[in-house]
Amino acid sequence: MKSNVTTIDAKSAGTVDLAESVFGLEPRVDILHRMVRYQLAKRRGGNHATKDRSQISGTSAKMYRQKGTGRARHGNAKAPQLRGGGKAFGPKPRSHAIGMPKKVRTMALRHALSAKAKAQELVVLDKAEAKDAKTAAMAKKLDKLGLHSALIVGGSEIDKNFGLAVRNLPNIDVLPVQGVNVYDILRRDKLVLTKDALESLEARLK
């Protein structure tokens, strides 16, 4: 599979070969769905907490005697049915992560890349660099390329000026190649890979 390469100034810079085993798969929606669910579940903090009856401060003494008051029977005032009492079965800090085999996770990344390639939403850049960190200039360039909602994946390190120039643009994300993931790919309309990123992705996923 071939793909055109453009420069950041929207000029043509030849073509590259995309590996069929990474970019040419028939995308599996179910795997992508599971992967996104996995990512969103895993990122949850899970630090929600309530106090159960043993954690509420207060006396454990019986409120009043068992018989003869004309009132309902009660033990101590921290019981969950009482106002100010502990919560029964309340949330406790825990991990919300769900399991997913590593091989399936890498497969999901392949399918995400393939989905973008199949929908003609994959752009290959020769380099993601900027001379100086000016957002307005960068916004024009990206506009020319037709990138309004995109994830830009650079090499193992993002060019500093480029990163700064793009940082404040809405709906434009930048990630180094080791940070590329299914959720961020699917979140934006287009996926932009630099040549460096393409190379290391193919080396990793082939």
Binding site: V29, D30, H33, V36, A112, K116, L186
Partner: protein, 215 residues
């Protein structure tokens, strides 16, 4: 493809059964537990009960035992060691000890000792200092020009036991161990006479040493 277009395969997930949520749910009043009795209560598990018939776990004879002398060893195969040498996490010039294996990440935590097993191939000349070795592994190591010295694990092993174990394992090992072997009996002979009378004096009443001296 966008996030809003994602879906799992139909039938991939099953709806959770919500029990005790009213008559309309079909699992309302008794929540699928029938009426009354032990099995309708919480916390009950009548496992292996076969209605009074002698249950299978009592019908069959008891079998086996737990070996209390069993040693909890780390098993390390030769192939794993070779790959560590190839990756340069293990220095082939130094002797391979528990510490070296730990540092190389071949074993995660040290147990009572390390036993080298013969699966995989070894090409590098290595000298080992481990608790045990299989015959196949020893042959393979020596074929590659290496050597094996057997050492008891210092952890947990009582002092008195350590000496005889050394003597036993010495024939298998090579030159450095033989030197140790020569030393070990010498030490024994020097130490044991000194210790034993002391021990007997403590244990036995004053009468016993006297007959000994007469003899």
């Amino acid at each position: 493809m966008r996030l809003n277009e994602l879906r799992d395969n139909p039938g991939a997930t099953k709806a959770r059964k919500r029990v005790g949520r009213g008559p309309g749910s079909g699992k309302g009043k008794t929540a699928g537990r029938g009426h009354k009795g032990q099995k309708s209560r919480s916390g009950v598990a009548i496992k292996g009960f076969e209605g009074g018939q002698m249950p299978i776990h009592r019908r069959l004879a008891k079998r086996g035992f737990t070996n209390i002398f069993k040693k909890d060893l780390n098993e390390v195969n030769l192939g794993r060691i070779q790959s560590a040498v190839d990756k340069k996490t293990l220095d082939p010039k130094k002797t391979v000890t528990v510490e070296a294996l730990l540092a190389a990440g071949i074993i995660r935590r040290a147990r009572e000792g390390v036993r080298v097993l013969g699966q995989g191939e070894i090409k590098t000349k290595l000298s080992f200092e481990v608790t045990g070795v299989s015959t196949g592994a020893q042959k393979a190591i020596e074929k590659a020009g290496g050597s094996v010295t057997l050492v008891p694990m210092p952890k947990r092993a009582p002092k008195e036991k350590a000496a005889p174990v050394k003597a036993k394992t010495a024939p298998k090992s090579e030159a450095p161990a033989k030197a140790e072997e020569a030393k070990a009996p010498a030490k024994k002979s020097a130490k044991t006479p000194a210790k034993k009378p002391a021990a007997t004096k403590k244990a036995a009443p004053a009468k016993k040493p006297a007959p000994k001296t007469k003899k």
